[in-house]
């Protein structure tokens, strides 16, 4: 799985309330919800994001609520991958379960700048900043988790058993 696109850069502790504010959670419709992705900290995100674009953030991305709507709206907006220094554990789990590619890489999160063009190979963890020419290696997922992702998410992996 690969993605290539422009970078949207965010700070540490991006919480699920700013990814998708709870005031919109009276629906489970992903397309409806996606219209409000990131609007409380980046009102321009939804109109500017293009398929394959990449979010790059600091520590503890996705902290707060367990709402699966958070990784779901990021994915529905067309985001190809989220790179962060670390992820909050429920967001990490949800992203795997719904098939949103995520990678943890401190150096990439420090050095890649907003607007850079990057390519990400999710299978190998190789991140390439095409604007600066630098490459970064993220830790690949454990096999157990790769198996879930390759089967298309948690429920698809269970259905196969």
């Amino acid at each position: 799985m690969k993605t290539q696109g422009h970078v949207f850069k965010y700070p540490d502790n991006v919480d699920t309330d700013v990814i998708i504010p709870a005031r919109y959670l009276n629906t489970a419709d992903a397309n409806e919800l996606a219209k409000h992705c990131m609007e409380d900290i980046d009102a321009g995100f939804v109109s500017q994001v293009r398929p394959g674009d990449v979010m790059v953030a600091g520590w503890n991305f996705g902290c707060g609520s367990s709402r699966e709507h958070a990784p779901l709206v990021i994915k529905t907006c067309g985001t190809g991958c989220v790179i962060a220094k670390s992820f909050a554990r429920i967001f990490y789990r949800n992203a795997i379960n719904i098939g949103l590619p995520i990678l943890e890489c401190e150096a990439a999160a420090d050095e890649i700048q907003a607007g850079d063009r990057v390519s990400v190979d999710f299978d190998t963890g190789l991140i390439r900043d095409l604007t600066t020419g630098k490459t970064y290696q993220a830790e690949p997922f454990p096999e157990f988790i790769q198996a879930i992702i390759q089967k298309g998410g948690l429920l698809a992996s269970l259905a196969e058993v």
């Binding site: 309330d17 609520s65 367990s66």
Partner: protein, 419 residues
């Protein structure tokens, strides 16, 4: 290698003699929980994956609590979907308006969860039940769907931080001041992926309501779970309440912890988390110049009987300051009823507060107390992120019920002993 209390519960539920941190396991679940926001997504996933049956009608709990009584048509549709699913699958622990409460106050109160359980819930504050000596953690809706279908979940066995408690809390402080102090010290990712295990002689001085509040906010330090040992206070709480037998697990004497942090309860002061992170803590006494527009006393963190009592003790003799809106939300119908019977509701109304039926409502900016631009609220809730309770330019300060009630009286953030 010795195991922590969390590791022992996980090993037992995975059918393994022992587990080590980082190990991936599949564990049997004693309870799978969802609410009116997360359950609809879970039902959609459950159906889409082609499942037709739930694994055990007695081990699934669906609680309508976030937006009920329904705040609008869309919320009503979501509640209806939960109601129909619960009915079609004969879910035993389905709680609708009239019987419901905020899930993490309700399930312990009703004995739906107990010591030794392995529990997942599609709500991040599911970590609350660690107060009873259970392993309990928040997950997403897809995990809930898989749990409902199979009765199992995968886990990475967590490492642990041992919080050794000594002493006893001063009268003006409660569990909320303890957990805010701890989060202020270790940060919002200070326990990321780990369990927070509370041990030491200080445990005995904490009431069950204190412990439920402390474990509730383990997620605010990034933790997978928080957990207390089972003692006389736990046994007294579970007595006559548990619908299933409690199983007591103890950490091995040689259990390995990543870190040991000593907490002297007698040194805790009334503490407030300033916008916009729960780690931005300061003593309440240093925030006396912060003027407030609204006070919220309630939520899964602090809507229990002792919280209502703390608010009552202050508001019975002091009216809410002019220009301040004070919203009090008992967390369950049983607590609500007790507030009526004890005369608390009358006292709250006489003081100028409003009393709502149980709902998560304002905590997550749903309804029943949304903030306008530029407004400030002190709340006994658990998160003060940007826009959490309303407009992106509003501010939320987190505190104990006593500090919130004292602040309602003065109109400024106020430590309880000053009222």
């Amino acid at each position: 290698m010795g195991m922590t209390m969390t590791q022992k519960i996980l090993a037992a539920h995975a059918g393994l003699p022992s587990v080590t941190p980082g190990q991936l396991i599949r564990a049997d679940l004693d309870m799978v929980l969802g609410n009116d926001i997360t359950t609809p997504v879970a039902i959609n996933e459950f159906t889409k994956a082609g499942f037709h049956q739930i694994f055990d009608k007695d081990k699934i709990a669906i609680v309508l609590d976030h937006f009920v009584p329904n705040k609008d048509i869309k919320a009503a549709q979501q509640s209806k979907q939960c109601r129909e699913f619960a009915c079609a699958h004969c879910v035993s622990h389905f709680y609708d308006v009239g019987k419901m409460g905020i899930e993490h106050a309700l399930l312990p109160e009703q004995g739906v969860v107990t010591a030794g359980d392995c529990i997942i819930g599609a709500d991040s504050h599911t970590c609350t039940y660690g107060a009873l000596g259970a392993f309990s953690t928040g997950v997403g809706s897809t995990d809930m769907a898989a749990g409902m279908a199979t009765g199992q979940a995968w886990f990475k066995v967590p490492a642990a931080i041992n919080f050794r408690l000594t002493g006893a809390l001063p009268p003006a402080c409660s569990g909320k001041d303890v957990i805010l102090t701890i989060i202020g010290k270790i940060g919002v990712d200070g326990a990321l992926y780990k369990s927070m295990e509370f041990t030491g002689e200080g445990v005995a001085s904490l009431t069950m309501d204190d412990r439920l509040c402390i474990c509730n906010m383990a997620i605010e330090a990034g933790a997978k779970n928080g957990i207390f040992p089972v003692d006389e206070i736990t046994r007294a709480y579970l007595e006559g309440r548990g619908q299933r037998p409690a199983v007591v697990y103890e950490a091995d004497p040689d259990a390995v912890y990543d870190q040991v942090i000593d907490v002297d309860l007698s040194a805790i002061v009334p503490t407030v988390a300033c916008p916009h992170l729960p780690e931005n803590t300061r003593p309440a006494a240093e925030l006396a110049d912060v003027k407030i527009d609204q006070v919220v006393i309630g939520s899964c963190t602090n809507g229990r009987m002792e919280d209502m009592e703390a608010a009552y003790k202050i508001l019975k003799d002091h009216p809410v300051a002019p220009g301040v809106r004070c919203i009090i939300i008992p967390a369950t119908m049983a607590i609500y009823r007790q507030c009526v019977e004890r005369g608390y509701v009358t006292a709250f109304i006489d003081a100028g507060a409003v009393v709502s039926t149980p709902t998560c409502g304002p905590c997550l900016g749903g309804y029943m107390g949304i903030l306008a631009a530029g407004e400030t609220c002190i709340a006994t809730t658990n998160r003060n992120f940007v826009g959490r309770m309303g407009h992106v330019d509003s501010k939320v300060y987190l505190s104990s019920p006593a500090t919130a009630a004292a602040s309602a009286v003065t109109g400024y953030i106020t430590a309880p002993k000053e009222v």
